[in-house]
Symmetry: D3
Subunit: 317 residues, 6 copies
C-alpha cells in the first residue's frame, strides 16, 4: 500500500447539536478536527496507509483525538507531553443570516512547540507523500521552522511533498501568510490553493485557470491545483491544464470539504491515478464529505466511485 | 368498522440519528418496518380495523415489533416461535451524493417458515380486504407458497384481495419476481404497482396511463393502480381511467411512502370512497408520511382531509 | 441603560425533537414561550434593561420559566401564587403538508387572575417603554381589565406604551378581539400589527402601506408599524411613511419571529435609533430569530449589525 | 381469555432525565401514568384481556396517552371530547435528602366530567372484573358519582369489583376520603389498601394482619388485601389470613409499584390462581416494576415466574 | 435583601454523560463551574442578592458562562475582553477504582489578568459580604495581588470578608499556598477551611475542633469554620465552639458540595441566622447539592428547610 | 513492543439506554463486543501490539466493528466477505429481580465459515502470544476445526497459546463443550477458566485452588488460572500456587470483565511481569472494566497502577 505522512494540529471541535447556539447549549458534540489529519483520514479510507505526526498532551482530551483518528485506520505518530494543552474550537452552525461561527480556543496547544528533532520523522522519510498546510506555520514561530524543516527532510528523502495553502484569517494576516508561505513553496511538489486564498494571500486575481497557470509558471511545482469552492478544481501538470467540475451535493456539513478534496486527490495519485483522475476523485470525495457530520470524510472507495458515476452520468445524458 | 387483514414480514429498522453514518454511530434509532404492517398502520389510523398476520420470534426484539404496531391500534395476529430470528435492517440517510443506504439483515427471519396452516387465517376470512405485497414471496419458497395459499383462501372467503408488487432488487431478480408474481395476479382484485417496477419486472414501458390500461386489459383486476413516485397515481377501474396528481410535500422521510399510499387508498375504499376519492386520499396520506420519521404513517383522518383541502385549494384558486 | 417593562403570559412550550409527532414522542424539548417575554428577551440582549411582569405558580414549572428568562438577563417581576397552574403548549413541527401544529394547554393559568393592584407596577412607571400584546386581554376578563389599567398607569407615568395586536384565533373571535382592542388603542403610542391581523380583526384590506396610513390617520399613535411576514415592515411616524424589506433568512424556527421584530425595533428606538433605523434593526433581529431553536431570539448587537450589513450590502452592490 | 375493565384518569408524566431538576431541564421524558391504566397494562401483559374506560381530549397529547396504553395491548374504551384538557404531572427524582417531587397539573382534565351515561359501560358488564381506585372519586364530584354508578352497574352485571383505596393527600383530606370511600365499600368485592392509608384514612392503627382482619370483619368483601410497601402483603379471604413477603428488588423506579401489585394479583386470580398464588404473583410483579422506567410494569409471565422462583429459592436455601 | 459579592474564575465544565470516559465520549455535558460563582448561586437562590465579579472573553463560551449564572438570578459584574480564553475542565466520573478524574484546561484564561482597577469594585463596597477563595490567588501573580487588593478594599468599605482556603494541588504546592494565603488571612473575617486542607497547607494536624480553635486563637477572625467532608462542620465564633453533623445524603454529584456549604452558611448569616443556624443551613445545602447534576446547588429555601427538618427528626427519634 | 494475536467473533451489541426494556426502547446504544477482541483491546491499551483475526461482512455494520476496535489501537486482520451477516446481540440491564438479559442474534454470522486457510495467519506466527476462547469453537463445526488449526499453527510457530474456556450455555451444552474443549487443551499453554465453568463443563467441584492444582496436574499447561467472579483469581505456574484477591469495584458494567482480566494478565506477562504480577494486573484491569460502559476495557497503564496501589494500600493500612 502506498504511504502518506501528514503533520499539523488536530483540535477537539465542540459543537452544539443542530443549530443551537453555544450560549444556550446543554451539550456539545465532540469531533476531532485538523486539516492535515482530515487529509490523512480521507486518504487512509481510500486505500493509502496514512499517518499523522503531531504533539499532544498526555491527557484524556489528547487521547480523545488519538481515538478519533485511529477509528478510521490512521496511525498517529505523536509525541506525548506534559506541557501544553489540547486545542479546541467551538463551532456554531445555522442558516443565514446567522450562518456558521468558529471560535478558536487553540492558544497554548502542545503542538506549538513541536520540533523536527523530536518528531518521528522516519515516517516522513519512508512515506511516498508528505503533506502539510499553511495552518501549521501560522500557529507559532517554532512550527513555522518545523514545517520548513520537515518539507526539506522530505525532499531529501525523495518523498513527494504536498501543501495546501489553507489561509486562516483568524490566525494571521495575508501579508504574514504570504511572507512565510512564499519561502516554503520552493519545497513543495504538489501545491493546492483555494482561488479566494490565491487572491487574498498571493494576490492572484485572475480566473482559476489563470491563477493555476500563473502559479505553475512562477514555481517549480510538479502539480498545482486551484479549488473553486462548490465549483470544482483546476490543475496544471506537465504543461497541461485540467478542469474538473464539482459533483453536486448538499451542504449540511461543509467543514472539512477542502481537506476531503486533498485526501481524495492524493489517494488517487498515490494509487496511480492521472491528474484528471485525481481531480475527479478529490471532487467526489469532497461532495460526499458535505453530507457527513464532523470534520472527517467517512467515505469508501465504492461510495466515491458511485458519486463519480452519478455525476458523470448526469452530464452525459 | 370495515376490516383489513395483511400478511408479511416486519423488521426492526436501525438507523443512526440524522445523517450520521452507521460506521460511526453511537446509537441507532429503532422503528418497526414492514410494507404490509405499514399499510395496516395507515389504514387503522384512518378508520379501518386492521390486523397483521405474521410469525415472530418469542424474544425482546420480537416484542418490540408487536409494541410498535399495537401503539397505532393495529392488532397483530402472530405465531410466536422459538425458531428463527427477528429480521432487521440498517438505514443510513443523507443528502446526495451519499443518499440513502439500506443494508438488509433479514436472513433467517422467523417469518420465512410461516405456513397458511399455522397462521390465524380466520382473520383473513372475516376481513373485507386482504393485502400483501411482492416482498413476501421473495423471502423464501415457503413464503411464496404461503402467499398464494392466503390469496386463494381470501378469494374463497369472498375477501377482496389487494397486492402491491413492491419489487426489491436486493431480494430477487426481475425475472424471478416476474415468474412468481405472474402466477399470483389471477388471485388479485386490487393491484398496485409503481411505474418503475412495472417496467423493470413486468416489462411495461409506456406511460403510467398506458401501463395501467394495459394491466387492466391483460388481467381480471377489480382495480389497477400505477403510482408515479412524487407525481401521483393512475387507476383503471370499471373501464374508466382516473389520474391523481401528487400532493406537494417535503421529502425528509420518504421510506414507507408507497405503503402509506396503499393504506390511505384501501382505507378510503373500505369506507365507501370511490376510486378517485381513494386515489386522492392515498396521495394525501403518502404526502403526510414523507414528513414523519420512521416507517409508519402517523396520520389522522383530519390531517389527511386538511392536506387534501390545501392541495385542492391550491389548484382551484 | 434605557428600560423596558412588559406584561403577559409565558408558557412552557413542549415540543418533540425534530419533526417527531407528539403522539409518538419519547421526550419533549422545553422552552419558555410568551409574546411579551420574548420581546423582553430580545430587547435585553440588544442593550435595553428589560423586565417582565406576570403571575406564576410557586412550583418547579413556574421556576422553569423564571430561569429561562433570567438566563438572557431579563429580570422577572412576578407575583408568585399557590393558585392556578403553569400554562403550556405542545408544538409539533414538520414540512408541509403536515406543517406546524399548536395545541394550547393554557386554561387555568395563574396569570389569568393577575390584577394591576398586585403587580409590581413601579417597574412600569420607571420604565421608558411599557409593552404588551393583544394576547393578554384575550386570556380572561380580569386580564382585559388589567391590560387597560396598566396602559393607563403607564400613560400617567409618562412611560411610552407599545402594543402588538397579535391576534390568536384559538383564543377569541375577530369580533371579540376588535371590540376589546379598539378600546385599548387610545392608550397606545407605538402600535404594531401584522397585515393579516389588520385585515382579520380591524377590517383593513388595503396594502400594508395603505393599512399603516389609515391606522395613523384614525388614531393618535406616535408610530404605527405594519409587518408583512417574510416581507418586511411599513411604519408611519410623524407624517412620514417608511418601508423596510425583510432580511433574507432560513425558516427553521419561525415561532417568535414577530416578537423578535418588536424587541429589535423597540431596542433601537430606546437607544436613539430613528424609525427607519428601528425598522431595519427589528427586521434583522427577526431574520436571526428564524435560525434559533425555541421562542427566544438569542441574538447579539454584533450579530444584528452583521445581518444588516449583509442585507444592505446585497442590495447596494 | 378472562377480561378486566378499569376506569380512571391517565395523565402524561413529564420527568427530566436522571436526577435533573425541572427548573433546569432541557427535556422532559414522557410517559402515560394513571393508577387504573397501570393496572390494566400489568394485567394485559400477564394474560388478561384488559380495557380502560375514560374520557380524553381529542388532541395530540390525548392521542399520546392512547398510544402508550395500546403499545402494551390494552384496548382503551374512551370518550373523546373537545372540552377539558389532558392532565399532566411533573416528576423530579433524586436521592435523599432531595427525594422525589410530584407537581400535579391535572386541574380541568377532560375526565372530570365523565358520566356513566356517556361511557361504554358494556365493557364493564361483559368483564370478569371491574377495577377502579380511590383517586377517581377524589378528582371531582361528578367522578365521585360516576365511580359509584359504575361499581353498582358492575355489581348488577355480576362483574366482580376491585378497588384500591390509593389515598392522595394532594387531592383531598383523609376525612373527605373516608366519607366518600366508606360509601363505596359496600359495592366492592376485592379491596386493596396500603397499611399507611388504612391508618391515615380509615383510622386502623394495628398491624397489617390486624388491619386486614378488621376490614374483613367490618365489611362484606370477597377478599381484602393490605399491602406493606417493600414488605409484602396480607390477605384475608374466606376466613383465612395469608401473608406474603416482598420479593427483594432495587428501587430505581418505584412509581407504579402498587398498581403493578394489583395488576399481578388480579391477573393471577382471573386465571384461576388462589389468593396466596395471587399475592405472590402480585408481589413479584411489583418487584419487577421497581426496575422499569415509567409508570407501566413492562413485565412478562416468564419474568414474573423467574422472579418468584428466585425469591422462593432464596428462602429455601 | 442582603447583598453578597464574590470574585473568582468560572470555567466551562465538559463532562461525558454518565460514566463514559472522555476518550470515547461523543458528547460533553456543559456546566458553568467556579468555586466563587457556585457560592453566589447558592446564596442567591437562598435569598441573598448575589453578584460575581470576574473577567471573561467576549465570545460564545464566555456568554455561556454568563447565561448559566444569570439563570439562577446571580447578576454577573464582569469585564469583557478580547484577550485571553475561557477556561474549561474535563470531568470524568465513575465508581471506584476508576473514580473521578479532573483535567484542568484553564491556562491562559482571561481572568488571570484581572486587576482591582478594572473590576466594578463598587459592587464589593456596597455588599454586606465579599467572598473569594484560595483558588483565585493560585491562578496568577496578578490574581494574587488582585485578591489582596479586593479584600483590603472590602475591609475599608466595612464589607465583611469571607474566604475559603480551597487548596488545589493541581494549581500550586502546599508551601506556595501557605505563603500566599497566610498574608491574606489578616484581611479575612469569616474563614472556612476543609480539615484536610488545614493539615496539608497550614500544618494543623489535630481534630477538626482543635484545628478550628487553634485557627481562632492564632488569628483575628470573626468566625472560623472547619468542614469535615461528609461529616459536618465545626465553627468557633465569639469564643464558642459549635459542632454540626452532616445531613445524610447520596453522593451522585459531589462536585460543588463545599461551595454549596459556604453559600448556605453565608446566606443564613446574612439573613440573621446565628452561627449554629448557619452551620446547619450550610450542611443541608451541601447535602442537597450532592443530588444535583452540575456544579450549581439548585436548591430552594423550602428544600433546605425540609432537609433540616428530616435530619433533625432523624436525630430526635 | 510484544505482540498478541487473537481470533474470534465480534458482535454489535445493541442495548437500550439505562434500564429501559428492549420492548419499549426508542434507541439502542451500539458497542462492539467479542471476548477475543475485548482481550485485544485491553492488551493493546496496556502496551501490547494487538491484532484480531476474524471474518466480517463487507457492510456498514461490519465496518462499525472495525472502527470500534481500531479506535483503541487494535489492528484488525480480517477477511471481508459478501457472504454471511454481522452478528448482534441485545443486552437489557436492570437491578434484580429483572437483572440482565442477553438475546443473541448471531446465527449466520460471516465468521462461522472462517477457515485457517483464508485467515492472515502470518499475524499469529509472528506474535508472542495467540489467544482465543471456548466461544469460538461453539459457533460452528468449521470454527471448531479452525480453532484447533490455529492453535496448532501457533504451537508450530513457537507462539505461546492462551485459551479462556468461557462457557456459554446459550451456544452449547456442557457435554458438547467438554468434548470439544478437551481436545484443544493439549494445544494450550496458558489456560484460564472461571471456577463455575470448571465445575459445569469440566466437572471440577473443589475450591478454586484445588481446581487450579488439579488442572495443572492433569495437563501440560505453562500456567493455569482459575478466576472467581468478584473474588479474584488463583494461578498455578511452575509448581507454585498464587492467589490474588479482587480489587474492590462498583458493578455498573460487568459485561467484559473476564476479558479485561485476561487482557491485563497477558499484557503483564508479555511485558515481563511474573505470574503474581500478572494476576494483580489482570485483577485491577477487570475492576476498572466494571466501571466502563460497553464491552471494551477503556483503561490506561496509569489507571491500572493507581487501582493496584489503592488496593494494596487498602490492605496494608
Amino acid at each position: 500500500m502506498p504511504e502518506l505522512a501528514t503533520f499539523g494540529e488536530t483540535m477537539l471541535r465542540l459543537s452544539p447539536p443542530g443549530d443551537e447556539p453555544v450560549e444556550t447549549a446543554g451539550t456539545f458534540e465532540v469531533h476531532a478536527a485538523g486539516a492535515e489529519s482530515n487529509v490523512a483520514v480521507a486518504a487512509q479510507r481510500l486505500g493509502v496507509e496514512s499517518t499523522w505526526l503531531s504533539k499532544l498532551p498526555e491527557s484524556p482530551p489528547g487521547r480523545r483525538v488519538l481515538a478519533a483518528l485511529r477509528q478510521h485506520g490512521v496511525e498517529p505518530a505523536v509525541v506525548l507531553t506534559e506541557e501544553g494543552r489540547q486545542g479546541t474550537y467551538y463551532l456554531e452552525s445555522a442558516d443565514p443570516p446567522r450562518g456558521r461561527t468558529v471560535t478558536y480556543d487553540r492558544e497554548g496547544a502542545a503542538v506549538r512547540t513541536a520540533t523536527a528533532a523530536e518528531l518521528p520523522t522516519g515516517r516522513i522519510e519512508r512515506a511516498d507523500v508528505f503533506h502539510t498546510t499553511g495552518i501549521t506555520p501560522a500557529l507559532s514561530a517554532t512550527l513555522a521552522t518545523t514545517t520548513a524543516d520537515l518539507l526539506e527532510l522530505a525532499q531529501e528523502a525523495d518523498t513527494t511533498t504536498a501543501f495546501d495553502l489553507n489561509y486562516r484569517s483568524k490566525l494571521w494576516s495575508p501579508e504574514a501568510a504570504r511572507e512565510t508561505v512564499t519561502d516554503l513553496l520552493d519545497l513543495v511538489d504538489r501545491f493546492v490553493v483555494a482561488d479566494r486564498d490565491a487572491e487574498r494571500v498571493l494576490g492572484l486575481t485572475g480566473s482559476p485557470v489563470e491563477t493555476a497557470e500563473r502559479l505553475d509558471a512562477d514555481h517549480d511545482f510538479e502539480t498545482v491545483v486551484v479549488t473553486r469552492g462548490d465549483e470544482g478544481a483546476v490543475a496544471v501538470h506537465d504543461g497541461q491544464t485540467h478542469e474538473q467540475p464539482a459533483v453536486p451535493a448538499g451542504n449540511a456539513h461543509p467543514v472539512g470539504t477542502g481537506d476531503a478534496f486533498v485526501g481524495g486527490y492524493l489517494a488517487s495519485r498515490l494509487q496511480g491515478g492521472s491528474v484528471p483522475d485525481a481531480l475527479a476523485y478529490g471532487t467526489a470525495t469532497a461532495a460526499l464529505k458535505r453530507t457527513v457530520p464532523g470534520d472527517a470524510a467517512v467515505v469508501t472507495p465504492a461510495a466515491v466511485e458511485r458519486a463519480l458515476a452519478d455525476a458523470t452520468g448526469g452530464i452525459e445524458r
